[in-house]
């Protein structure tokens, strides 16, 4: 089974380890570079006969309208889903959601479920929870299969096995597939098409016999009671169509008020995500369709910290996220460290704000380190299809992290800034202080700022201060 992120070290330590892995850095640079170029080509194409910025504004607007009216929208969604024959459950946290899914599965006497790739079920650790109840959860997305068979962790929202190259994947398939089902053929090569064919053969028997399917949802339309899943391989269609019972775990922020509101989002998501005009398959379903697909449909509406994020005036916008992962692909930090260093299923710039918002700043050292995992260059905001101003949220969260740690022993940084505040408040004090710049920097190199200087150079001290120079040269005239 897949590992968990529990107990991951804080970002600087995890990133330091990741940076030492040359294979990982090579895989990441190749993958993020490829996908960035594909996305940019399509954005340029949209601008030839339409307007990408206007499309982003519309997409952001649809999500913003839903969030600002979330209570009403959720009640509407519950009533339309119920009218369509679905059973709606509510879960305050991961444990409640997992218990609901497990009890439905057990009620049908199954020892396995097939799963559509879903971020939210990873967030709540559903696979591990089901395993503890004796139920195997089979991941059916190719990348998730690679991660699951490799007893590994996902490292990217869209392509979770981005840190693995083809020869590693071949090795995993050869050694692991046989233990959980149809083995990989002996003559397996590392051609992507051959590897994909092995996954098709391995999973087909699981799809055909599955009684219970588990999914997330990309969107939940309130006024029609419709769920939407966007995918590429057809594994999603298999899980949503063939089983008798379907359980969808849906974060409460996935609500879209109206059917028409899907329009800008369905145009933005695939272009931002895989760099395609449209993803190969999108499935929509409104509860139970007699004679077609699962005849028992459950929807679990999950909070798990989303209401914390909603209460944060600056951070609230992060709930607009449609999980496209464009921000990961343009981030200079993500491109070098990869996803594991973020210690969460939500890595990259969006993870650096979403995790603290969901869990609360000050909750632990790992979460608190994330808002600092950024150079604030702003590339993430530029590509975000729903205009999440990630840099502003990062800065605000840094302040919240500092606030959460007030009291106790002050950090070196806090002392330094306190000193600066004293010196800068009065010109005489500043003039006096400047005489000691050289000594101060030498001291700083040795002791106080070693955390800063271990990765950066402190500037050399000038031979004389500006004031001394001005006096000596009469402002450069002498």
């Amino acid at each position: 089974m897949t590992g968990t992120f529990v107990g991951m070290p804080a970002f600087p330590k995890a990133a330091h380890e990741a940076l030492g892995n040359a294979q990982l850095r090579h895989n990441l640079a190749h993958a993020t570079g490829t996908i960035r170029a594909k996305r940019q080509r399509l954005v340029d194409e949209v601008n030839e006969n339409s307007d990408w910025e206007e499309l982003r504004l519309a997409g952001a607007g649809v999500k913003e309208a839903a969030l600002r009216d979330l209570g009403t929208q959720l009640e509407l969604l519950e009533s339309t889903l119920t009218a369509n024959g679905a059973t709606v459950h509510w879960a305050r946290d991961a444990a409640e959601a997992n218990a609901i899914v497990a009890s439905i599965a057990k009620g049908h006497g199954v020892d396995e479920v097939v799963k559509v790739k879903s971020m939210v079920t990873q967030e709540i650790g559903l696979n591990e929870a089901l395993e503890a109840e004796g139920i195997a959860a089979w991941e059916t997305d190719l990348a998730e299969l690679i991660v699951q068979l490799g007893h590994d962790l996902p490292s990217h929202i869209l392509v979770p096995a981005i840190h693995r190259n083809r020869s590693e994947i071949r090795e995993i398939f050869l050694t692991e597939m046989g233990a959980v089902g149809r083995p990989a053929p002996d003559d397996l090569t590392d051609e992507p098409a051959v590897l994909a064919a092995a996954a098709r053969a391995h999973l087909r028997e699981k799809f055909l016999r599955a009684k219970v399917g588990v999914s997330g949802a990309n969107f939940a339309v309130a006024d029609t009671g419709t769920l939407v899943v966007v995918e590429s391989e057809g594994n999603g269609r298999m899980c949503l169509t063939l089983p008798e019972v379907l359980i969808s775990v849906v974060g409460i922020e996935k609500v879209v008020p109206t059917w028409d509101g899907l329009d800008p989002l369905l145009r933005l998501l695939p272009r931002s995500s895989t760099g395609e005009r449209m993803n190969p398959y999108t499935s929509t379903w409104s509860g139970v369709t007699p004679g077609d697909g699962p005849q028992e449909v459950h929807v679990v509406l999950l909070d798990n910290g989303r209401t914390n994020a909603l209460a944060d005036e600056v951070g609230r916008q992060a709930l607009r996220c449609i999980r496209c992962s464009a921000c990961l692909n343009v981030c200079p930090v993500y491109e070098r460290t990869g996803g594991h260093a973020y210690g969460s299923v939500y890595p990259g710039p969006i993870g650096a704000i979403l995790n603290p918002l969901l869990k609360g700043p000050g909750s632990d050292e790992q979460v608190d380190s994330l808002p600092y995992a950024s150079s604030l260059c702003g590339a993430c905001f530029e590509v975000c299809p729903v205009l999440i101003d990630i840099p502003s949220v990062l800065v605000d969260l840094r302040a919240q992290v500092v606030d959460a740690h007030r009291g106790g022993v002050p950090k070196v940084e806090a002392l330094a800034f306190k000193g600066a505040a004293v010196a800068l408040s009065d010109s005489r004090k500043l003039a006096f202080g400047e005489r000691f710049t050289k000594i101060g920097l030498r001291l700083a190199r040795r002791v106080g700022a070693s955390k800063w200087t271990s990765a950066r150079d402190l500037p050399p001290a000038p031979r004389e201060s500006f004031r001394t120079w001005w006096k000596r040269t009469d402002g450069g005239r002498r």
Partner: protein, 200 residues
């Protein structure tokens, strides 16, 4: 308090002082396309689907030609083309289970809407399209789209679709980019998508 009421009250507390009724800016439309149907054909072919344009009176022959010799073919009720030798799902009250569908090589269906800009075919699984499973399990999907069903872009398609029905939006054959972002056509869904675009 039960989970439902607690979540809803947390939501209302979080939004205390926030005004609902946010004005959503309208989504932009694309500039008019000179040849909507031609654009659709190009964009579908871009996904490595097979696209053939054919006059209405040749449709039956072209469908037959798209099916490999000796292929086992399943069709939905209400298909406008008569295909001798194909098995109809649901005929005589008998619907095929997943294992039975897996034994078929090909499926022939119609569609509800074609979207030119994105090269997308939308099935609403009405008459001539069948249950979702039949156009999923067989490895070859021959899909008939009439030229008058093709609209320019996504916002033109939305009002034509009834959200109460299940929908499958298809943009090319099943595909993955999960291995080093190399695109591979054909994973779990039909590995071949053959579109017959029928001119009136």
């Amino acid at each position: 308090m039960n989970a439902r009421d607690e979540i809803l009250s947390r939501v209302r507390r979080a939004l205390d002082g926030v005004e609902p009724g946010y004005a959503v800016p309208p989504a932009p439309r694309i500039a008019p396309l000179a040849d909507v149907v031609g654009h659709f054909a190009e964009r579908v072919a871009d996904y490595k689907a097979i696209v053939e344009r054919c006059p209405a009176d040749e449709l039956a022959a072209r469908v037959a030609a798209a099916l490999p010799e000796g292929a086992r073919v399943v069709v939905p009720a209400g298909l406008s083309v008569d295909l001798p030798g194909a098995d109809e799902d649901g005929a005589g009250g008998r619907v095929f289970d997943a294992y039975e569908l897996d034994a078929y090589d090909a499926v022939v269906t119609e569609a509800r809407v074609g979207i030119a800009e994105t090269g997308t075919i939308v099935l609403d699984h009405g008459p001539g399209q069948g249950r979702r499973a039949i156009s999923l399990v067989p490895d070859l999907h021959v899909c008939i789209v009439r030229a008058d069903q093709v609209v320019p872009d996504v916002p033109d398609a939305m009002p034509l679709l009834d959200p109460a029905r299940p929908h499958t939006w298809i943009s090319g054959p099943s595909a993955t980019s999960d291995i080093e972002l190399d695109r591979v056509e054909g994973v779990h869904g039909p590995r071949t998508l053959h579109v017959l675009l029928v001119d009136p």
